[in-house]
């Protein structure tokens, strides 16, 4: 018996420790200390907040506890069951011939905070009607003057491969998702520590205490007071960071709208102001990463964002934010097209060796067959290889060797082998080249090298590689084979 009762004792202590150190634990929401600055930032900026998480992870609890702690007049709607009349009340013609809405206790009029639970499960027509509430605090075109906080919650939507997400939880409409300033993934149960799990199991439904509510209100007030200073001292640099980040994420296939860029600027500043209230030594870079992680609309659409891509873009963008405005590196790294990046980097003769090498290494690893060979030729012909570090120069030389000198090879193939068909396609292409034209030799060698390296599996791949060569070589050298 004593062994059994020992664990609750331990967990109560952990719970008390967490309550002391975390604002959210103070109001009875345990295990969310990692996202606390984001929640605080959402309260400071009053930007729409969307929580995404598995069922039973405390999304609704978090929002209702905050509303209670702040003594907000709030409405909690289940969007999957919602009729719009529930929101606005019943319309009645008035003496002027227009409509008045009969204000029921459940209607949105007069609310200071609103929670749309299960927003991903509601009918599209209802979602359309929620849009102006989330976006501009308007219902039926009428400004909801007292409404400060617009919050929503949803389960993870079904992904394309349907191996994750909830049946019935549809990806949120792109435009609606883009109106939420903060899109926060609530951790699943297995992500909590043992102490947190036990504390959640043991937690009760005790109301938010006056002390905890006061601490939360004070934290919001402090962060709100800090925000203008943060904005004036860091705003310009963070704007550059966001601009670079958006460009780098776009290169990684993660597109963000101009509106999102603007939202991210405000989010980063607000998250940093919020973080400083609990940790005066907080690093702005970490705050920026937290804000970005919790500010991507793709989460609400069931799209996966690899953490490695996010981290790489964040680090590069943060570095660039510190780069002087005239530095060519900023223009180079924010250019989406890898071939254009190489061209700009080669033209920037004062670019550091390490930076040029990074641009070239990225291009070489990411470009398709044909384009990669054309870039290697360009780097040797412009003598830019001499400005690369030795490892990247070796890499470029290896590709260039197979283009500037013909790769002699001989291979026995069955007639039914797709490679045989591919080779026949290459022969067709080579037969159209003019051997008296110098660059035709490069094109032929490039194509043959791609074939020998087994990069061209199908006849269509040969056409694609040849087209990529012609296009890239033409752009870089102003000539075509």
């Amino acid at each position: 018996m004593s062994r059994v009762s020992g664990r609750p004792q331990q967990s109560k202590a952990a719970d008390q420790r967490e309550r002391r150190s975390s604002l959210l634990a103070g109001i009875g929401v345990i295990g969310l200390s990692d996202i606390e600055p984001v929640i605080l930032a959402a309260l400071v900026t009053e930007a729409p907040l969307l929580l995404i998480g598995p069922h039973g992870t405390g999304k609704s609890l978090l929002l209702t506890r905050i509303a209670e702690a702040l003594s907000l007049d709030f409405r909690h709607y289940n969007a999957s069951l919602l009729n719009f009349d529930d929101l606005v009340g019943f319309p009645l013609p008035n003496q002027n011939g227009s409509l008045d809405y009969v204000k029921t206790p459940a209607a949105i009029w007069g609310a200071e905070a609103v929670i749309f639970d299960e927003i991903s499960r509601c009918r599209p027509d209802i979602q359309n009607k929620l849009f102006p509430i989330v976006h501009e605090r308007r219902a039926q075109g009428i400004l909801l003057e007292g409404l400060r906080y617009r919050w929503a919650a949803m389960n993870p939507p079904l992904t394309e491969d349907a191996d994750e997400g909830y049946l019935g939880s549809e990806p949120l409409d792109t435009a609606l998702a883009d109106r939420f300033g903060f899109i926060v993934n609530i951790p699943a149960w297995e992500r909590y520590t043992e102490a947190e799990q036990l504390a959640i199991i043991l937690s009760d439904d005790a109301p938010v205490t006056a002390d905890a509510a006061s601490i939360l209100r004070r934290a919001i007030a402090v962060a709100k007071a800090t925000l203008p200073t943060i904005t004036s001292t860091m705003g310009d640099a963070v704007a550059v960071y966001v601009r670079c980040l958006v460009a780098l994420l776009s290169q990684a296939g993660i597109s963000l709208s101009p509106r999102r860029a603007s939202m991210l600027l405000r989010s980063v500043l607000a998250v940093h102001a919020a973080t400083l209230t609990v940790d005066p030594s907080a690093s702005p870079s970490n705050s920026a990463l937290v804000a970005v992680r919790n500010g991507l609309p793709q989460w609400a659409q069931g799209l996966k964002i690899p953490e490695t891509k996010l981290l790489a873009a964040h680090r590069e963008a943060w570095k660039l934010a510190d780069v002087k405005p005239g530095d060519p590196l900023r223009a180079i790294l924010t250019t989406a097209d890898p071939v254009e990046r190489v061209r700009l980097a080669v033209a920037a003769t004062k670019l550091r060796k390490g930076d040029l090498s990074s641009v070239v290494a990225d291009a070489i690893s990411g470009l398709p067959s044909g384009a990669r060979e054309a870039v290697a030729v360009y780097l040797f012909e412009t003598d830019a290889v001499g400005r690369l570090n030795a490892a990247v120069a070796e890499q470029v030389a290896e590709i260039y060797a197979d283009v500037a000198t013909p790769l002699n090879f001989s291979e026995t193939l069955h007639a039914r082998n797709p490679r045989f068909e591919t080779w026949n396609r290459i022969k067709d292409i080579l037969s159209r080249l003019d051997a008296n034209e110098p660059r035709a030799h490069l094109a032929a060698n490039a194509l043959a090298a791609c074939f020998a390296k087994k990069e061209l599996g199908q006849p269509a791949d040969a056409d694609t590689a040849f087209a990529a060569w012609l296009e890239t070589d033409g752009r870089l050298c102003g000539v075509s084979a």
């Binding site: 030389a397 500037a404 193939l413 034209e437 060698n445």
Partner: protein
């Protein structure tokens, strides 16, 4: 370019063919003449320049190499030789980086001096010559010659040197 292979003993097996490649000229011999920028024998794009280290310097110590160059070795022959190599490398009318190709006897030999050979051999990897690379004197223990492929645009500079 494609040779029909011999029939296999198993007639139900699909026939085999040999696919070969040795350059555009070999691929389409009827089209004839190589353009000036393409080496007619080996089909490479650009000009090959070659250097040979004199027999007396191959596999020798820095002191012996300096002696072969009729230079005093001083207290630190290795350092002296490295400085001379760097100086000569700066003078060579080559681009800052060149592809290293198998040693060619048909290549141009614009620089017959031993220091030029050292400046090339000691700054080569198996793939690339880099002017900015720190010379590796150990390369002279194993390598007596090197050939570089110079892109066509730099060929005229080399030809001027050869005159």
């Amino acid at each position: 370019m494609t040779d029909q292979g011999q029939l296999l003993h198993n007639m139900s097996a699909p026939p085999k063919s040999v696919v070969k490649y040795g350059g555009l000229l070999a691929a389409s011999p009827e089209d004839g003449v190589a353009p000036p920028t393409v080496h007619p024998d080996v089909g490479v794009f650009g000009m090959i320049v070659s250097v040979w280290l004199p027999q007396a310097m191959f596999g020798r110590s820095p002191r012996a190499i300096l002696k072969g160059l009729d230079l005093k070795s001083g207290t630190n022959p290795e350092q002296t030789l490295l400085e001379l190599i760097e100086q000569r490398a700066k003078e060579l009318a080559l681009p800052d980086a060149c592809l290293v190709v198998p040693t060619s006897f048909s290549g141009q030999r614009p620089w017959p001096d031993a220091l030029a050979a050292l400046a090339i051999i000691t700054k080569c990897s198996s793939r690339v010559w880099l002017r900015s690379k720190t010379p590796r004197l150990s390369a002279t223990q194993k390598t007596a010659s090197a050939s570089l492929l110079v892109p066509p645009a730099y060929g005229d500079r080399i030809k001027e040197t050869c005159k």
